[in-house]
Amino acid sequence: MKIDNKDVERLAALSKMELTDEEQANIPGELSSILDFVETLNSVNTDNVEPTSQVTGLENVVRSDEHVADYTKEEMISTMPDVDEDGHLSVRAVFTGDSPSN
């Protein structure tokens, strides 16, 4: 699969990630060769083969809905870049002119 600049732009947008100029120059070629390599899988017949997402056979592991924590609120808050006076994580306004939902 040949990846061009337009594809890279789309993937960068999907990944919410800007690229440096150098990366913008290199990534189309690198991605193309990586995808060419992984496309060797096309030669494998996988008709009626179930996909594997878990290897030890566990399914739907549940636990009781109880609060378990070995950390304190203060320490948890200390990892956050911006906190309001009530100790809530502060983030930028989401619903603004640039948000995708608008």
């Binding site: 290199n26 990586i34 995808l35 494998v44 996909p51 070995d70 948890m76 640039d98 995708p100």
Partner: protein, 479 residues
């Protein structure tokens, strides 16, 4: 530094104190760290000595566990309460976790010396892709220690610590162990809890052990293995005493040699030669060597390099500058996300995220991600079939000896090729150990023994027997 079992005996006999041992470790780190760069963060001296004094008190009161007072290190992917945890990335440079991972907690009163260097977010095969500079191989400072747990491997090999924890997603414990002449244990998927370990590719990530001997890795596994209510991928499979009977040998074992590994392309002839020699040695010890086939194993790298980036792109979505670290300055929320990730991630991380985004994107999901999951099923079935007719499999760990720093950084595919013998085992979720099997031109060489799921005991037993055959055949340290 002596191995863990020797140090345990000395500590218990009182011929050395935990504080003296910690001072030994501090001195060795101070003497060698400028050359090796094994650590991203060293634990402060007063904290180390306080922890060692506490360990000594436990020993004096005869309350010690198997690891009490033993100096160790952990890869900087494990959360450690109050100690920076960076995942080798700029984006987590300032992150100080409010809790510790289960694996670190289970090391009990072992004395933590520091957080070891690694490829950013455990993506790489050489520890060159760390935001904090590369680690150097302790046997040749111009060469890589392997990766991604290269800091842990170098720290153990150089005697900075007695053992270390790493993680293995596609070979990241086993390959650096081989490159640094130490033992690297990657257990069955789910055998050791990953709670508090920063996620890379969740269907593949495992916690592993780097140690100087097979017995030491069994001892550490004894402490770490088992179900954890905080990690739902740890099944309720009984934990065995992995150290008991480790010296029972390989007599009567059937050891399979995958035909495809014998003829794999891109393998250094010296490694192929050593592989054949090790087969003869194992046979000489009374095991039966059996040819087996893994018809789909040649597709392992391609499968891995779809599944790994896909899962990575999903797991790394959380690093957006909102919850950890400092957000970049930009006008709108979207621009803050974009800029934070541009500045925070290195080039290999960005490549994987974009390959993953591609494989998971609408219109390509079935042809890439689902296809790879299906081929993964076929690879697993190959291993299941082979392991029905043999007890264990034998394979090289790396197709080549440690390469020069910078030699493979320009071409992503050249770096991925380093994982050819380790990735298939990760896809099947099997336990494997890389055992030191001598040197080639003063560079260590390792071989893997591979078992069925939760077959760690047999893998350790055979690894121990192989290890004994190469005692005294170590490379000479450059530090």
């Amino acid at each position: 530094m002596d191995n863990v079992l020797e140090l345990r005996a000395q500590l218990d006999a009182g011929t050395i104190s935990a504080v003296e041992l910690a001072e030994q470790s501090l001195k060795r780190i101070a003497d060698t760290e400028d050359q090796l760069n094994s650590f991203i963060t060293e634990v402060q001296k007063d904290v180390v000595l306080e922890k060692a004094a506490h360990a000594q008190k436990e020993i004096d009161n005869e309350h010690q566990g198997p690891l009490t007072g033993i100096p160790f290190a952990v890869k900087d992917l494990f959360c450690t309460h109050g100690i920076n945890t960076t995942a080798g990335s700029k984006i987590l440079q300032e992150y100080v976790p409010p809790y510790s991972s289960t694996a670190v907690t289970k090391c009990g009163d072992a004395v933590l010396m520091g957080k070891t260097n690694m490829d950013e977010f455990a993506l790489g095969s050489s520890t060159e892709r760390s935001a904090f500079g590369p680690t150097h191989n302790p046997f040749d400072l111009e060469r890589v220690p392997g990766g991604t747990s290269g800091g842990s491997a170098a720290a153990v090999a150089s005697g900075q610590v007695a053992f270390a924890l790493g993680t293995d997603t596609g070979g990241s414990v086993r390959q650096p162990a081989a490159f640094c002449g130490v033992v690297g244990l990657k257990p069955t998927y789910g055998r050791i809890s990953r709670y508090g370990v920063i996620a890379a590719a969740s269907s593949l990530d495992t916690v592993g052990v780097l140690a100087r001997t097979v017995s030491d890795s069994a001892l550490v596994l004894n402490q770490l293995a088992g179900m954890d209510p905080l990690d739902t991928t740890t099944p309720d499979v009984p934990v065995e005493d992995y150290l008991a009977g480790i010296d029972q040998g390989v007599k009567g074992m059937r050891i399979g040699i995958p035909k495809e590994f014998r003829v794999a392309k891109g393998v250094d002839p010296e490694i192929s030669k050593r592989y054949e020699e090790v087969m003869a040695i194992v046979q000489g010890l009374g095991a039966e060597i059996v040819d087996v086939e893994l018809p789909h194993v040649e597709y392992s790298l391609a499968t891995f390099y779809i599944l790994n980036p896909s899962e990575v792109s999903s797991n790394l979505g959380r690093y957006d500058g909102m919850q950890y670290g400092a957000p970049a300055t930009a006008e709108t929320l979207d621009q803050v996300f974009m800029k934070t990730r541009e500045l925070g991630f290195g080039p290999e991380v960005k490549r994987r995220i974009m390959v993953g985004a591609f494989c998971l994107s609408s219109g390509y999901y079935d042809a890439y991600y689902k296809k790879a999951q299906q081929v993964r099923t076929l690879i697993r079935q190959d291993f299941d079939t082979a392991l029905q007719s043999v007890d264990l499999l034998l394979a090289p760990t790396s197709p080549f000896v440690p390469f020069k720093i910078g030699e493979r950084t320009d071409d992503p595919l050249a770096m991925y090729a380093a994982d050819i013998f380790t990735v298939p085992i990760s896809l099947a979720g099997l336990p494997a150990i890389s055992v030191p099997t001598g040197v080639v031109q003063n560079l260590p060489v390792g071989m893997q023994l591979i078992g069925p799921q939760f077959g760690e005991k047999a893998v350790l037993q055979a690894s121990y027997a192989l290890e004994q055959q190469f005692i005294g055949q170590q490379a000479t340290l450059a530090v």
